[in-house]
């Protein structure tokens, strides 16, 4: 439930970890951190130091859409079947989610809850989750959220903004309000800071869905695909990529079996393979084009919104620096000539 009257609160820097500690006792709390390999991502809170200085390399997507999950099973001995024993239960709180990622969750909600008629695994996690958004202080180096209309958070429960002595907080929903306990938060009259983000990258989005589609055979696809390694770094870092494949697994000799689904990517050769071993997108060019067009053309044409929130992760993750904005802007530019 949205709150009618939004109040501002403040929490001191020193109290933050105590607050998180208290949240993590009752729920699964995930927070942005830097892992051992140096990548920034979301992990379960265990008192570790947080990464709050910018957008993470990986979003919190895997907590809503695990890379691999068992869906249902058959047991031979008891002649029974059922939905996975690991069916998601319990509350998930995601702390420090940036504006772009709240829009990405929104996009996944649209697909898994609305279009797919309530995918039970996704929706069990999502409906049982609380999003604590964190306002960006500076625009990140490769993002273009402003162009995609995603620089203000949406669908979150609490909004935080950092300031020198701590954080200023706003509960947006009742659910969020219950978490702002008086033990850590004090009411304040201070206004909530308005972000003024100047993204370094931009994308001209007017008519982009039609223009990209009309330029299906633009030479840029071939040119960029020559460099592309089909490594899937772009789709696997993207917070809105949702493709999965499913596979069956047998317990050794017992006749028990289960079906699970795991992440898939349109950059893989076998992604578009159908019975008879026909592959619809054998060329790298067609796979790269699928990525860009799915994000900036097809989805908008069919469902009214873009599937890209402008987070810039695909640009940062690409080892050969293929840039979705460069491709799209080039085609937009040529279309306007």
């Amino acid at each position: 439930m949205q709150l009618v009257r939004v109040l501002n609160y403040i929490i001191e820097k020193e109290s933050l970890s105590k607050w998180l500690e208290s949240l993590s006792q009752k729920s699964t709390l995930v927070v942005p951190v830097e892992n051992e390999t140096g990548a920034t991502c979301f992990e379960e809170f265990n008192g570790q130091s947080l990464f709050l200085s910018g957008r993470t390399d990986f979003s919190a997507k895997k907590f809503f859409l695990p890379t691999n999950e068992k869906m249902f099973f058959f047991r031979k001995k008891t002649l029974s079947y059922g939905i996975s024993p690991n069916f998601p239960k319990g509350r998930l709180i995601a702390f420090g989610v940036r504006a772009c990622d709240t829009h990405a969750l929104n996009a996944l909600d649209h697909l898994f809850i609305k279009l797919l008629g309530d995918d039970c695994f996704y929706s069990a996690r999502r409906k049982n989750s609380t999003i604590i958004a964190l306002q960006c202080r500076e625009a990140c180096s490769s993002g273009f959220c402003a162009s995609m209309g995603c620089s203000k958070p949406t669908g979150h429960d609490i909004l935080l903004a950092e300031r020198p002595s701590g954080f200023i907080a706003q509960a947006i929903t009742e659910n969020g309000q219950t978490l702002l306990s008086a033990e850590f938060f004090k009411k304040t009259q201070d206004p909530f800071p308005e972000p003024s983000l100047e993204c370094s990258k931009g994308l001209s989005t007017s008519g982009i869905e039609e223009n990209l589609y009309a330029n299906f055979n633009h030479p840029i696809w071939k040119k960029e695909a020559e460099r592309c390694l089909s490594c899937t770094s772009c789709t696997e870092a993207c917070p809105t990529c949702y493709c999965y494949s499913s596979s069956d697994c047998f317990e050794f000799g017992s006749g028990d079996s289960s079906r699970s689904r795991e992440r898939d990517s349109c950059q893989l050769l076998r992604f578009s393979e159908v019975a008879g071993q026909h592959i619809f997108r054998p060329s790298r060019e067609s796979r790269l084009r699928q990525f860009v067009l799915h994000k900036l053309s097809y989805y908008k044409k069919h469902f009214g919104t873009h599937l890209c929130v402008g987070c810039g992760r695909c640009i940062d993750a690409c080892p050969v620096k293929i840039d979705i904005t460069e491709i799209a802007n080039k085609i937009q530019g040529d279309a306007k000539k």
Binding site: N35, T37, G38, A39, C41, D57, F58, K62, T67, R75, K76, T78, L79, S80, Y81, G82, I83, F87, C120, E226, R227, C228, L229, S230, C231, T232, S233, E236, A237, C249, F250, F252, G253, G255, R263, S265, L268, L269, R270, R284, D316, A317, P319, V320
Partner: protein
């Protein structure tokens, strides 16, 4: 705590009428599958990896029988085998003779590990300079071929289990599927796919050469997860874009020699495989054609390294 009912969750009995097979045994092979392990030139690490399965291997012994293994048995228990797992490369006449006889004895032959699938470590000698080749020849203890080759160069191989050493889970999955009458296939998925799922920071972005984008996944990105470059032990995918990766290595600052060494650490260059063909029958066996990029559907092109 009172149990809450959740739509769709929990166990439901299968209605007996509709499933007449309910309660009957699922047909498993009457006799146990006879399998054998064989080692050509290698360290025998892959067979050890299988033994590492410990209790799970013992459980599997309800369905399989190890009928030949130098490591485990005093003498073979059967001549005919359902599956032969062969590790190691062919580098001597002795290796070649053993390989042919193993093939004759078995219905299904699986190449086990990097040495057998892509020539792996023994294959390093293939691209050594002449003076080192001579040194090897002077010190050899048994008659050797000039080069080491994957076993697919000589006999029909039905499946590859890759890696140095193999992934035990993959071995078990293969066996399990085989028992259920299912085939397994190589998925054209690069190591990067699994590396991203482990949320590793990318070595290539830090200026460290990594073969992840061109190498078969299945190891759960073992090396990059420990901050070490992937050196291609699981073999190159059909979908590999060598030219692009090679230019990236050049940009990172690798010399021609360094690039050559990395690409040939475990794998063989197409032209070396072609040379082999010339020395022998003049024609490349089908499975080597794929390794050598001669299959028009799967372009493997190492132009830049020539």
């Amino acid at each position: 705590m009172p149990k809450k009912k959740r739509a769709g969750a929990g166990q439901k009995p299968i209605p007996k009428k509709k499933h007449s097979a309910a309660g009957k045994e699922i047909p498993m092979p009457k006799k146990k599958l006879k399998i054998g392990f064989f080692s050509l030139t290698c360290c025998e690490g892959c067979e050890l990896a299988v033994l590492d399965l410990e209790e799970r291997l013992l459980k599997a012994l309800n369905y399989i029988e190890i009928a030949d293994s130098r490591l485990l048995l005093e003498k073979p228990l059967s001549k005919k085998l359902d599956i032969a797992f062969v590790e190691g490369s062919v580098i001597s006449k002795h290796d070649l003779d053993s390989l042919h006889s193993i093939r004759e004895r078995s219905s299904f032959l699986v190449a086990l590990g990097a040495c057998a699938t892509i020539a792996g470590i023994p294959g390093i000698r293939n691209s050594l300079p002449d003076y080192l080749q001579d040194k090897i020849k002077r010190n050899q203890i048994k008659p050797m071929k000039e080069k080491a080759f994957p076993i697919s160069a000589f006999v029909k191989v039905d499946f590859l289990l890759q890696g140095c050493s193999i992934n035990e889970e993959e071995f078990l999955t293969f066996l399990n599927r085989f028992l259920h009458g299912k085939t397994t296939r190589l998925e054209q998925i690069p190591v990067c796919f699994e590396c991203k799922h482990r949320q590793n920071s990318c070595l290539l972005l830090k200026g460290i050469a990594c073969l992840g984008p061109v190498t078969y996944a299945g190891c759960n990105a073992l090396c990059p997860s420990e901050n070490a470059q992937c050196i291609g032990c699981r073999g190159f995918t059909d979908d590999a874009n060598f030219t692009a990766l090679d230019s990236l290595f050049k940009e990172i600052g690798l010399s021609k020699e360094e690039r050559h060494n990395l690409f040939t650490y475990f794998n063989q260059l197409p032209e070396e495989l072609k040379e082999f063909a010339k020395e022998n029958s003049g024609e490349l066996p089908n499975q080597l054609k794929e390794l050598a990029g001669e299959n028009p559907k799967k372009k493997i092109d190492l132009e830049a390294l020539k």
